[in-house]
Amino acid sequence: MRNSTTGWLLIAPTLFILFITGFVPFIYVLVVSFFDWNTFAQNPEPTFTGADNFRELVFDKAFLKSIWLTLKFTAFVLISQLVIGLFLARMLLRNVPLKGLFRTIHTLPLMIAPIAVGATWRLLTVPGLGPIPHYLKSWFGIDYILSRFPDQAFATVVIMDIWHWTPLVTLTLMAGLSNLPEEPLEQARIDGASEWRIFWDITLAFLKPVLLTTIFIRLMDALRTVDEVWMLTGGGPGAETRFIGLHIWRVVFPKTDYGYGSAMSLITLYLTIVMCWLLYVAMTGMKENKA
């Protein structure tokens, strides 16, 4: 290990930029969360109210619903993306003609801006214009109207996210799969283990750190999904797809309820960090065991 002063110098610019763009705003939000501050109230100045905002949050049905929806959404997309991503990663590692082309096509959705993803799916689902409602109606007799049926809206948002983000999962898992050690696999085959057992006991076991890392990345991003949902459903019907990022935005911006919105932000951030921390501990623990 080398002289740590040089190390600090190398990492300093990164820490400095993140301090300005991440930590300073965080402190601001922290302070504001202890105030009642709505610039369109009779008294537009901030008033210190201690922990009132936080107390109110515990009973705020809209907030709790939004948190619950976000968690539900995250669970759905995480599990689907892991399963589908793992399957596709294995399929992509096979030798087929046009492999490069397939890989490129599969990765394409990842490159599309979330806001454009939302727009694309809106074009697919707008009644009267989009093909999905048309064919569901004429083939299956299903009335598919996102803005009227909460379950359809939620399912569509989940499917959209799967379409958009599975490629990232596929790619990271491919990186993991292609680095798997060969010997244990060969050994197991010689021992006559079934393909299924090999996959379950060996491949997955070796893949665990990669899986956890992938979950971590997707968890961080899924919890802060805003753009595409805003574009597709606007959080509707009602508040059935109003995930926490969108909910906070509505409270802080159109409603200008700064104090309350800040408290809400802090709680959300806290929950996110706790979840990620648990995963992180699991991840680093695993690394050390290996080392």
Binding site: R2, L10, R103, A119, L123, L212, I217, T268, C276
Partner: protein, 282 residues
């Protein structure tokens, strides 16, 4: 090795053909909408191009719009500068983390990651106030490209840092130790040993951060107004325009997608190699 029917090349090929069609369907539909005139939009949907009625008017209109051109250039400058800045800073930081004894190493690492965790709406208000407060003469951080280039570090740096740390960790320490023994400075080691070896990883980092920056919407829409607006904010402007202009919206979306798709096609081979996040030790 025995191969079942399911594992045969033909089945795999068919599978991927279907899968690709499924993946491309939404994009294809967007393209179809973008070549339809406003009056033809509604009606029975068809997945075929109606060559008789096909029109490039939406593209012509969008491309000849000066603000669209400006948005596109802004997006290019902002995404590219941010990707370069982030890759360089993250490489330095990752090297520091990997090779130096830093107090509270794991905590620093996790703190860096937390910056990507916050829902973006959380920071909008303080950032807006900060951006409007920073002024040098007539120049203001608000509505400036520099502002966005710096700000995008908040979600891109943690990502790049993590990705590159795995890459740098995988470079054998003996290589740079040998260089130090020969009397090289830290900078020389970075330039001649680490940089060439981390190049595939850097490429992936650069591309993904570029895409994230290119795609960002919420910050850009709040922290810019005229000069530094990006293409994604331009896209959103078409949504609530009178009688939502679906055709032009689709045309802009296609144009937003094009550069990213191009970059992807060029580098897709390298992406997998770089995406290990340190979870795989080679």
């Amino acid at each position: 090795m025995k191969r079942g029917l399911f594992q045969s090349t033909a089945v795999t090929l068919i599978f991927w053909l279907c899968m690709s069609a499924l993946t491309l369907l939404p994009v294809w539909w967007m393209f179809l909408v973008s070549v339809k005139s406003r009056a033809d939009l509604f009606g029975k949907p068809s997945f075929l191009v109606d060559t008789a009625k096909m029109t490039w008017a939406n593209y012509a209109e969008v491309l000849s719009n000066p603000s669209f051109q400006k948005y596109m250039i802004n997006s290019l400058i902002i995404a590219t500068s941010n990707a370069v800045l982030v890759s360089v800073l993250a490489l330095l930081a990752a090297y520091a983390m990997s090779r130096f004894r830093l107090v509270g190493r794991d905590n620093i690492f996790f703190w860096v990651l937390t910056n990507r965790m916050a829902p973006p709406a959380v920071f909008l208000l303080p950032l807006f106030l900060m951006f409007t407060a920073v002024k040098i003469g007539d120049w203001s951080l608000f509505d400036s490209r520099i502002g966005l280039i710096l700000l995008y570090c908040v979600f891109n740096l943690p990502f790049a840092f993590w990705l590159l740390q795995g890459i740098v960790d995988a470079i054998p320490k003996e290589l740079d130790e040998a260089a130090y023994v020969d009397g090289a400075s830290t900078f020389t080691v970075l330039r001649t040993v680490i940089f060439p070896l981390a190049r595939p990883g850097l490429a992936v980092t650069g591309i993904l951060t570029w895409v994230f920056a290119w795609n960002e919407y919420l910050f850009a829409s709040t922290l810019t107004s005229v000069e530094a607006r990006t293409i994604t904010t331009g896209l959103a402007e078409f949504v609530t325009v009178t009688g939502t202009n679906w055709g032009q919206l689709a045309a802009v979306a296609m144009l937003t997608l094009a550069p990213a798709a191009l970059v992807l096609a060029l580098v897709q081979r390298h992406i997998v190699a770089g995406l290990t996040f340190g979870a795989v030790k080679g």
